[in-house]
């Protein structure tokens, strides 16, 4: 399967280059499918996936447009691992005392710990750098996951599922709706020698009749709230749900959503303004 997604970069030179012209041009370019923009010294660059690019629509637009002077040219940007530069230059090992080190395969100097997870961060979310992932790793480290079934919804790099498996979890299911994350998780599972994690591509609707002892969902507030009734349904009695991906100031909304479906709120924690909220099912 080819998951490469090349992009078109449309370079627009605006004369005169005024903010109001940039804004008008962006509104027009959204009409023909462009979705993201970068302001430049000479105007604006617009971006669209190559498979969605309609050259005729652009040519028609260019011929008709007379609001201000405009010059276009475009080029193809090949798909690549955009996080690579950050990863290689700025990604440092993440240390959880003597319990765990999360590092990339290229790291040479790092302290020894009881467990070591190798994550080569690509474009998927979940290196442990972000406060939400960090706090969930802390939660897992202090949990008993031995022989417990685990669901990691919105797995990103697979890091939470991998740590659970290293701590002896039984059936472990890592799910993401982003195909790149699914691929990245599969790679990380092999690198970390935790092969019996099942990986699924989809959202919460991928679940059938399975029930889990532990569920993690680190996506964002609205998704967590919307998913809450289904998460509760798929949790065994006495099971634990750990949620994150939202700000601490918003945790009350998630707490209410959990309580509304019968879950028992245990506690919330905060790091860098982000929250983790723990529930149990009676």
């Amino acid at each position: 399967m080819n998951n490469k997604l090349d992009y078109i970069e449309l370079i627009c030179k605006i004369n005169p280059n005024l903010q109001k012209h940039t804004d008008v041009l962006i509104a027009y370019l959204t009409d023909i499918g462009f979705e993201s923009f970068m302001e430049t010294e000479k105007g604006v660059n617009a971006y669209i996936a190559e498979c969605q690019f309609n050259e005729k629509a652009l040519n028609d637009f260019e011929k008709q447009f007379s609001v201000f002077k405009l010059k276009f040219e475009y080029r193809i940007i090949k798909d690549e691992n955009w996080n690579e530069k950050w990863t290689e230059n700025y990604f440092e090992p993440i240390i959880f005392g003597t319990d765990l080190v999360v590092r990339a395969s290229f790291h040479k100097n790092f302290p020894k710990a009881k467990k070591e997870i190798i994550i080569d961060p690509k474009t998927a979310f979940g290196t442990g750098y972000h406060a939400t992932t960090y706090m969930l790793l802390e939660e897992i480290l202090k949990s008993d996951t031995l022989n417990k079934s685990v669901l990691d919804m919105g797995t990103g790099t697979g890091i939470l599922a991998i740590l659970s498996k290293m701590q002896g979890s039984a059936y472990t299911f890592a799910v993401d709706n982003d195909i790149k994350a699914v691929k990245n998780t599969s790679e990380n599972i092999l690198i970390n020698n935790t092969p019996d994690i099942e990986v699924g591509h989809g959202d919460i609707t991928i679940l059938k009749n399975e029930k889990f002892d532990i569920i993690y969902e680190n996506i964002w507030k609205n998704t967590v709230i919307n998913d809450m009734p289904i998460l509760a349904k798929h949790l065994n009695s006495g099971g634990v749900l750990l949620t994150s991906g939202f700000y601490y100031k918003e945790y009350d909304e998630v707490k209410r959503a959990g309580e509304d479906v019968g879950l028992i709120f245990q506690y919330s924690r905060e790091k860098d303004g982000w929250a983790v909220v723990k529930f149990v099912k009676e």
């Binding site: 992009y7 804004d23 509104a27 923009f37 447009f65």
Partner: protein, 143 residues
Amino acid sequence: MAKPKDVEHVVKLQLPAGQATPAPPVGPALGQAGVNIGEFCKAFNDKTKDSPGMIFPVVIYVKKNKSYTFEIKTPPAAVLIKKEAGLAKGSGEPNREKVGTISKKAIRKIAEIKMEDLNAYNIEAAMRMIEGTARNMGVVVEK
């Protein structure tokens, strides 16, 4: 927000609410500046996800130590005009081809949204700026 101190890169993007991904322009622009792309996307999406379909300008200030802050601005006036006037598209020839109308009430609503980002003395001045943008798009402002 004033520009923070020790800023090495300033990146100005306009991105769909709740839909920032590491694809261009975010990936190349922020990767080059040393910003953790995944983290930025998550934070941007989290702050904008309640306005689906809208485009938000965002200015990212990257410091020498690669820490960063970002400021999300109000959506472009032209995008708000399209939405308020219910337009599928703007006019390529606004002097000749009129593509729709917009009420004064809608102009005021947009001016109020944009006020914090416009260099306008009062709401009437902001409304005149919005009306100018509407005319530029071939949208007639109702009297």
